[in-house]
Amino acid sequence: MSCIDFLPASVQQRRDALQRRRVTGLTVIAGLLAGVAVWLPLRGWSDQLQKQSLEVTQQLELAEYAQAKAQAADARRARFQQRIDLIESLRDDVAPVEVLALLTELTPSDITYQNVEFRTVRPSPTPRPDETGAAPRPGRGNTLDRPKYQVELTIDGIAPDDRAVVRFVAALDRHRLFSDVKIPANRGVVVEGLQARSFQVRLVIDLNRRIKAGQEGVAHATY
C-alpha cells in the first residue's frame, strides 16, 4: 500500500488515462515501426522486380529493333526476288535471232525466202485491278488450263521443185524445236522465166516445252 492510494479518485482516474495514452502512443509507434519493418523488404523486392522488368523491356526493344531491321532486309530480298522472277518470266526462252539462225541453217541453198513472220502468242498478262477495287479478271490466256505460249513461224519461199520443198519441210519436222509443221500452200510459179514452186510453211515452237541445250540440232538456240 502506498500513499498514492489515498489520492482522490479523480486524480487516480486522470493518472490512469495518462498511463493508457502513453501505452497507446507507444503501441502506435511500435506498430508503425513494425509496419515499416515489413514494408522495407517488400519495397526492396518490388524495386528489384521493376529493375528486372526494365531490363527485360530493354531486351525486348532491342530484339524488336533487330527484328524490324531483319524484316526490312527480308522485304528488300523479296523485292529483289520478285524482280528476278518477273525478268525470268518476261524474257524469251527462245531468242528470235537464234531461231532465225537455226532456220537459215536448216534451209537448203536452193530455197529462197520471200516472207518470214515470227509471231509470239502468249497468255494475256493479269490486268491491274480497276479503281473500284474489283478483283481483276484473268487475262484471256489465263482461263486455259495450259496457257498458249508459243511462237508461230510462217515462211513463204520459192523452191526449184517439190523435192526441195519436201527436203526443207522434212528437216524442219525432224527438228525437236519445231512442231505442227504444215504446208498450207504450194503452187507453181514462174520466176525469171523458170518454173519454180512457191510455198508456205507454218510451224510452231512450243515454249511450254523446255528443251535442254545440247540436244539434237539445237546447239545454236538459247533455252
Binding site: G35, V38, L49, A66, D74, L86, D92, Y113, F118
Partner: protein
Amino acid sequence: MRLIEQFQLPLAVLTVLTVTGLVLIYPTVKQAQAAQQQIEADRQALAAVSTRTPAQAEDDALTVKNRLDELPFRIGEGAEPHAVLARLADAAVRSGLTDYDITIRDAEHFAAFSQLPVQIVFRGEFEDAFNVIRATAHSPRLMRAEVIRLEREVGFDGSHTVNTTIDLSAFFLDPDADSAGGAP
C-alpha cells in the same frame, strides 16, 4: 468520448494496421505484381520475336541482289521512251541502217509490270534484220520481240531488199503497279 477512451488501444492498433497496410504495403505489393506481370509479358513477347539476326537477313538480301545484278537484263523503273528510242536508234545505226522508222506507242499497264509497245521498220538486207534483232535481244534493258516480219522485195533493177518490221515490248515497272499480278 468515454467509449473511445475505453477502446483507444484497439482503435489505435487498428488505425496503425490500416494506415500501414493502405499507404505502404498495398501499393508496394501492387507495384511488384505489375512489374512481375510486365516481366512475364515481355518474356513471352521476347520468345515470339524471331531469332533471325539482321545480319543474316542482310546477307540473304545481298545474295538475291547479286543474283539480280548478274542477270543480263534490267527492267526499267519508268517508261523512259527516250531511253528505248536511244537503244533502238543505236542498234539501227550500228547495223548500218540510215533509213528507219521507230514508233513508240502509249504504255500498257498490267498488274505486275507495264510495257511500252515499240515498232521499228526499215529496209535493208537479211543481215541487217538479224543485227537489229540481235542488238535488241542483247539490250541490257529488257525488250522482247513480239512479231518479226521480213518481206523480200524485188526492185526494178532486179535487186533484192528485205522490208523488216519488228514489234517489240520494252518492259518497265511503275510505282502504281501491283506486285501481285502475273507475267505472261
